[in-house]
Each structure stands twice: as structure tokens, then as C-alpha cells.
Amino acid sequence: MAATTALPRPKAYDDTFFRPISIWLTTTDHKLIGIMYMVTGILSFVLAGIFALVIRLQLSQPNLSVVDAETYNQLISAHGVTMIFFFVTIFLTGIANYMVPIMIGARDMAFPRVNLLGFWLVPVSILLYYSGFLTGGALNAGWTGYAPLTEKAYQSHSLGVDFWALSLIVWAVSGIMASTNFLTTIVALRAPGMKLTRLPLFVWAQISTSILLLVVGAPLAAAMILVEFDRQLGTQFFTTQGRPVLYQHLFWFFGHPEVYIMILPGFGMISEIVPVFARKPIFGYMTMVAALFGIVFLSMTVWAHHMFTVGMNTYVEGFFMFMTMLIAVPTGIKFFNWIATTWWGSVEFTVPMKFAWGFLATFLIGGITGVYLASVPVDTQLHQSYYVVAHLHYVLFGGSVFTIFAGLYYWFPKITGHMLSRRLGEWNFWTLFVGFNGTFLIMHTLGLEGMPRRIATYANASWATTNMIITVSSFLIAFSVLLFLINVVRSWNGGEIAGDDPWHGNTLEWATTSPPPPYNFERVPPIHSFMPLRDMRESGEVTTELEPEAEPAKV
């Protein structure tokens, strides 16, 4: 009995990007909202990437003045804020918005209109931040915006900091809405048979991410509200006369879990992709779930490791050092389980699998340098140097961006009905892999030799060659992203037809059409394990195209 292929499919949902604007503006469909989140994320990625190129031009040689120091400070701040708040987090919310309801066999999110409001707060937040540029200069204190540099006494000329603070308050409210919605959806709207122990690991990752954002979103908003009080109402919370370090505590109580908000969904995607392309079930499903929650718990107990140079009691520092190092344990479990999943497998090295492997190979470096940084004495040397810049890009680029590309190549066929070009995808992967490592690997050593981060220029001539290599490599990254954009635009309408299940996936999204109809499933397939589709394929219930795609969905 072919559960998903026999029924005729109404082509109610047309798979082109071009739909009337009224549909985009008013839709409560989680899939369209998901696409809007993802497109917003990618546009932010491109914008922040352009900032990065200007930054790299400025640093390519000593004593350059491509931009002046004030503009430079605004650029690095806008690069960080845009990448972290408007690209990675937003994109990952989008892909989860699209996939989570389908993966649990639901028809939509639990609160479709909250979903709509939550999404539309994102452009509001972005516009608020960029309004700063129109008021005499945007935030210029780095994405972390340490007080008292953000205080009125040092920023009297512009409203950039105010717009940043307002933007993040709106952003936090939007994130809290999305998290509540995800948790309710996953708790309440699972299809019959979809027990918690049968949830796809990507959905588990989304549960842990949502819990984190729910807990730490409010402290971020609180910190920003206090910054605003200081600036506009004359309070003295974080001013030179107040307690600037309190700001750092509040900010990093949000800021460190935010790192995991940006990587746990990626872990989830890798846990979906690796088993599919190794043709083996995930190794240690329950330890994978436990590791996620281990990370959730630990990530909220480590924030002060960003503050080892402010002069804390050494026992307090020791505590934060120890908790930070402990995170290596659940992360290690996940690494070993992914390797064990592939061991004895039948590995198909497709583009999504390549990006998954690119992620494992590079994120490992970010994980190991994280242990160096956790060690308080070593951190006092590495802190705020280019070593940290390298580390955070290995975690956020090698981690988040590579997983995002893996997820995109994996799910693009489901979302659009078309495959991304494999040839361009290979070029995309290899140029990105080389460009990324060329850019960030030698940043470690630059930091070890004493180059601080966030300096607008430098006088030390012996750093010139290294910085030039970094700048050239960063343009290779830009080239790679360009290839990716070309691939997306060309494949969206013209790519090879994907069919329902081009990868022979394990999870429910592959049981419906590509793209799925507005109601997702005509009939939710039976669920007996965390790999319902594989079960159906094995029992012969589904005879979906196991050969290379012959034909698209019949109209």
C-alpha cells in the first residue's frame, strides 16, 4: 500500500518562488514563514559578508586607511550583530520552522499567528539596528557592546547604541515567541505514534535550542533595557561610576548560550544527514539526546569564561573553567557517535554529506581551541586576541555555517522540488573549505603573537604577510558564497526535479510531496520508530523512486 505516492496530488502549492506579495505578507503557513526566515537570514549573511570584506581590506596591510577607525568600529559591530542575530539564529529558526512540524507529522505550528508576528518582528529588529547608521553612526563598541563604552558620556554624537538596544529587545521578544511556539508544537501536535523517543534528532535539537532561548532571551532584553535607562534616563547601572562588569555578566549569561542556540540545530541537522548517507541508523540515539541536554545545562553555567581578565576570585574562575571544559564531554560523545554511525556504513559522499564532513573536520578545531581558552591562565593570554577571532569563526563558520550549508543542500529539494546542482555544489564546498581554513587557521598564530582583535589598523610590519594571506582567502569565501547564490537562483526553478525522496531519507518530511502541500500530509504515515520512512521502505509499504529520479510528482 503506497501511503504517499498513490493519491493524486493537487498542485495547490506552486513550487516557484514567485507568488503574489499578498500571500507572503499575510501567510501563517509555517513553510512560507520558514522560507521568509531563511531568505532574511541569507540576505543578512551576504550583507555581513560584505562588511567582512571591507574589514579584511582595511587589515590587509599595516597602517591602511580604507576606512577610518570610527567607521571600522561600526563595521565590525555590524558584522557581528548581523551574522549572529540576523543570519545564523534567524536562518536556523527558519529551517526549523519549515521542518519541525513536518518531521513530527503536524499540519502547522501550534500558534500560526504568533509565528507570523514572531517572524515580522525580525525585519523590524533589523531595520531598527540599521537605523543607527542614519543617526550619526551605528553601534561602534563591537557586537558585545561593553559598557561603559556604550554609555552617553562616550557616545554623545549618535543614537546608534539606542537603536542597537531597541533592536535586540525586539529580537529577544521574537525569539521567545518562536521558542514557545516550537516547544508547544513539539509537545502537543505530534502525530499518532510519534513518541518522544521517536522524535528525529533535529527536533530534539530544536527542543534544546528553544529551552535555551526561552531562558536567556529575557536577560538579554533586561541588559538592553538597563543600557537604555543609563543612556536616556540618567541611571548609573553600567556607567564609569556604576558597575560595568555587571553588564558583562548579564550579556554573557545570554551570550554564551546563544553560541549553542547557533550550533545545536546544526548538530541536529548533522544527526539527520549522516545516517541517511551512511545508510545506518544513528549510533546511540539516547546518548545523543542526553548530550544535547548536557550541553543545554552546562552552557548556562559557563558565561564568566568570557570575563577571566576582569579580576574575579580565582575559585570562581576555577568553577567557570571547570564547567566550560566539561562541555567537551557531551560534544565529544556526539563526535564519536557520528563517526561510529559512519563506521561500516555505505557512504555516499554527496554535497550535504561533504558539508557535514567539512563541519566535523573544522568544528573539531574550534572545540579543541575552546579547551585552551577555558583554561584561565592560558585565556589571559589568548583573550581578545586574533586567537579568539579564529576560535569563534571555527565554531560559528566551521560549525554553524557548514551545517547550514549541509542542511540547505539536504532539504532544498524538499522545499523547492528541485535539486541544487551537484557540480556547483562541489565547487561551493571545496572553495569554501579552502577559503575558510586559509582565512582563519593562521589567525590563531597571529593572536598568539600578540595581535589584539578589534584594532582598526596595526603598526607591526611583521604581521603584514599573514594578514594579506587572510584577506586573499576571505575573497575566496566570498567567491564560494557567490557560487552558492547562483546555484540557488538557477536551481529554484530550473534544477533537476527532486521527487519526494531524493536521498532515501529516514524521517517524515520525505513521505510527502516536494514541496509539501499547505496541509503537509494527505495521510500521516504510520510511525513505529525514529526512522518511519526507512521502516516503510523495508516493509515494502513505500515503493518510492529508489532508482535515480524518473519523474516529478504527477499533476
Binding site: A69, Y146, F349, Y372, S375, H383, G450, I455
Partner: protein, 284 residues
Amino acid sequence: MAADILQAVAARARALFGLSLAAFLLSSCEGLGGISPIFPTPVSPNGEGIYNLYVGISIPAIIIFIGVEVALLWVVLRYRRSKQPAGYVPPQIHGHTGLEIAWTIAPLIVVLVIAGYSFVELQKDFQPISNQEMLVVVSGHQFGWNYDYGNGIVVHQEGTLAGDVTPFVVPVDTLVKLQFQGTDVIHSWWVPAISGKTDAVPGYDNFSWLKINQVGSWRGECAELCGVGHGTMQIIVQAMSKSDYQQWEQKQLTASKASPSPSPSPSPSPSGSPAKASPSASPG
């Protein structure tokens, strides 16, 4: 099979660790900048402690790095579909409790050892000291450092990119306690060859120390973004022999008695003149 792989991994780890040791040795000679795999050779015992800890952490780190990367390469090369017999169906293994416990415990032991070693170093070199031979109050401002020796000498190290900043002079083999103060925003004092960073935060004092073991000059920079002049807040620490230091001290003292404002500079810096024009006006 597994034993063979482990042996291969271990052999490679030994080979590569040897390489990295060679790189450590190479790092001591000045060549192409920015590619040293370790900090500059430390000249103060607390910097040495950090240096040794860094090397200590590197041993398990390099072994784990190479081991995992080799495993990653191995699985995708060895188990590719094209390498498997036609019609190969992989064993559907869902996990192995023993293995999963093993790779929970093993990393736990490694990080416990690293954390323990780090904590010992933390207790040894990062406590505020009281047996100093000299105390200097270092205060950061936008954009420069003031070094108050407490005996009337104040060195003003105003930030510049155009040339060398005024050096902060200390005698060799002398335990100098540094007391950090912030006067406006947060700054961070960092000379990699001496030790790690210490933040100068408004509102409370922070402490560090140095005991430089040779005559010479070392460079550093402010490491906390503090405004448009952040990149100009360069630091030079100059260690003099004790007799040279006494001469320098005498010169500073007579200079400060001769003029109403404390003399800013031991050796005139080429570009510090605008800042030196009003040294007494700088905040303290």
C-alpha cells in the same frame, strides 16, 4: 583491525608531535611574523607558567586532533559506497553501551587533568601578591596609559601608531606589583612576552605582577575595544639593569622637581609631542 588503526594513529601522532615541537623551537627566532604556534618566549615567571601550561594542554590536544581527523578521513575513505561490495547492506547497529560509556569517561579524564593543571597554575601566579619590591599604579584612559611609581614619577604613555610610545621602565629581577585602574572605559593591559591580560576597569582595582629576567624592551597593546583610538594604545615595557634604572629614576626625579608637572618621558619619543604638551591635564 582496530588495534592496527590505533597503532597507526599513535605513530602519526608521535611524528606530528615531533614536528610541532620543532615548530616550538623555531618560534624563538624572529622570521615571518604571525605564524608562531606559541606565545613569544616569556621573560617573567608568570608568563612562563602560562607558556608551560599551554605546552601541557597541547600534548593531549594534538593527539586528540590528529586521532579524530584521521578517524574522520578513514571512515569516509574506507566505507565509501564505491569501495563496498555491490549490494552491501550496512549492519543496522543502534549503539553500544560499553563504547558510549568509554567515550564519555575518556574525555572526562582528559579535561579533569587539564582543569587540575590549570587550577594549580591559577593559584600559583594569579593571586594578588603582597611581597612586591615595587608597586606601580597603571591607569588606562582614552587613549593611553599612565604609570604612577608612587615616588613622584609618572610615565605618560600616550597612544600613537606613528612611532614608538614612551616606554614603561622597570628594573630587571625585581618583583613589581601592578595595580590597574580604569578612569573612563574598560582597557586591557597586555604584553604577550610578560604575561596575560589584566583589565583596567573603572570602579575597582585589579592586580597583576611582573619580574623580568633580562634587559630589553617588549611590546604590547590594549586588548579591550575602547573607542576610535583603541589600536593606537600601544605598550612598551623596558627592563633596565638595576644601576641604569637608578640613574633613570634620579633623572626623572630631578626633572619633575625642575618643572611643576612630572616629566613624561625618559627618552623623547618622536611623535608623542602633542600628548606631552599638557601632561598635567590628563585624568588621573
